[in-house]
């Protein structure tokens, strides 16, 4: 009997071969419940559902997604046992895995070198193996366009820095782990992570001198004026992150 219902399904989906049609018609004449099933299959059929979703296909593909495809490295299998993985590299590997970062660099700008050197024990400053300075496109998008929390990303502070850049302190989290970081926006519109704490368990009590404190110290040392309130962040996002009037940039 199930086979007969499958034929009714195939008829609704235009996948029934002509040779099978006569037997199905006979079955439909004998079996009112199969007629009802066919009506259901056709009501919630390919045409109706596909039409409902057609607008989604017509939506423009976000540029960051195209960038992912066009620029993400084609990773080759490597013998990991032969590599000495530094603290920073191991952390980056974990972050890539957890946040699906492509192999682009999380790079520190030279303007921050002095501060980074002072707290380098905590900082993630990986070398770029591809010579680029882009972060994951997804995180770029979140920093560029997000004023409030979204899945896995929570902006904490947004401010204009002494180095004449917009910077944002933020949290990234999974359901078990989280990390805090600061990223600054370069003139080319790309955000670069300048500091990042090692991932830690959710709910863990951070001891004095913790990585998070280093981030706060960095903010205190680099902030110019007051951090933005949420409406100001929204306005900055809307306006494409123009330099504030007092910056004279």
């Amino acid at each position: 009997m199930e086979n007969a219902y499958h034929k009714a399904l195939a008829l609704a989906d235009a996948e029934l071969s002509p040779a099978e049609l006569p037997a199905l018609v006979d079955e439909l004449a004998r079996n009112p419940s199969m007629v009802r099933a066919l009506q259901v299959y056709m009501t919630v059929g390919r045409g109706r559902l596909a039409k409902t979703y057609e607008a989604k296909r017509a939506e423009p593909v976000p540029q960051w997604l195209i960038d992912t495809v066009m620029h993400a490295p084609v990773e080759q299998s490597v013998d990991r046992s032969s590599k000495v993985i530094s603290y920073g590299s191991a952390l980056l590997e974990r972050m890539r895995r957890r946040y699906r970062m492509p192999g682009w660099s999380l790079a520190a700008g030279p303007a921050f070198a002095a501060v980074l050197a002072a707290v380098s024990a905590w900082m993630l400053v990986p070398n770029s193996s591809h010579g680029g300075t882009l972060m994951t496109a997804q995180l770029q998008g979140a920093l560029e366009r997000t004023a409030t929390s979204q899945a896995g990303f929570r902006p904490l502070l947004t401010y204009w820095s002494n180095d004449q850049n917009w910077c944002r302190q933020f949290e990234m989290r999974t359901d078990v782990e989280r990390t805090f970081a600061i990223a600054c926006r370069a003139d080319d519109g790309n955000w670069r992570v300048v500091m990042q704490t090692p991932p830690g368990s959710l709910g863990a009590i951070l001891p004095a001198g913790s990585p998070r404190e280093h981030l706060d110290r960095y903010v205190a040392a680099s902030v110019s004026g007051q951090p933005l309130e949420r409406p100001q962040v929204e306005e900055a996002i809307k306006s494409g992150w123009p330099a504030p009037p007092m910056a004279g940039k």
Binding site: T52, Y53, V74, A151
Partner: protein, 177 residues
């Protein structure tokens, strides 16, 4: 070779995004799934056989990633971001078109289906893929594809026709209560 594959991947993105949207019910999560699919495809590009359909291979990767996530969520429990609640429909006056409403209804109905049924609906009914191709992508026999399709459509029809009753019954079935 890789450049050609990248170009073909970009060409497949609109369909892949729609498929991912149908699976996840959210543009953001769908794009996240598409991104992960592309990265995984690029990391295993040597496994794709020239002459076969690249988009089918990517559908398979996307579906596997998504099913893995669904299984992991079952173990860990669903996590809903707080800010998402503000955007839920029905909490305030909405000014949406009829087509958007229909999409929301179908999205909500799809979300109530078991993961495997949702995937097969997305492939066959939304992406227009044949039963045979859907069987290849999902790695199950055609008969299983058709059984899942039939059950999924009966459930969708019930939800869209009698939303309250069907949703309650399906939600109970999903949570095992």
């Amino acid at each position: 070779m890789t450049d050609e594959i990248r170009a073909r991947m970009v060409a497949a993105l609109p369909r892949l995004r729609r498929f991912a949207y149908a699976l996840t019910g959210s543009t953001e999560q769908g794009d996240d799934l598409v991104q992960e699919t592309c990265l995984r495809a690029l990391s295993r590009v040597e496994r794709w056989q020239p002459g076969t359909r690249l988009d089918s291979w990517m559908y398979r990767i996307a579906q596997n990633i998504w099913l893995d996530r669904m299984r992991a969520n079952k173990v860990r429990g669903e996590v809903v971001d707080v800010d998402v609640v503000e955007e839920l429909p029905g909490l305030d006056g909405r000014d949406v078109t009829e087509s958007q409403l229909a999409l929301e209804e179908v999205d909500a109905a799809l979300e109530l289906l078991p993961s495997e049924q949702r995937a097969v609906i997305a492939l066959v009914c939304i992406e227009g893929i044949s039963y045979k191709e859907a069987a290849e992508i999902t790695g199950v026999p055609i008969g299983t594809i058709m059984s899942r399709l039939a059950r999924a459509r009966q459930a969708l029809h019930a939800i869209l026709d009698e939303p309250v009753l069907a949703r309650t019954r399906l939600a109970s079935a999903k949570t095992g209560s």
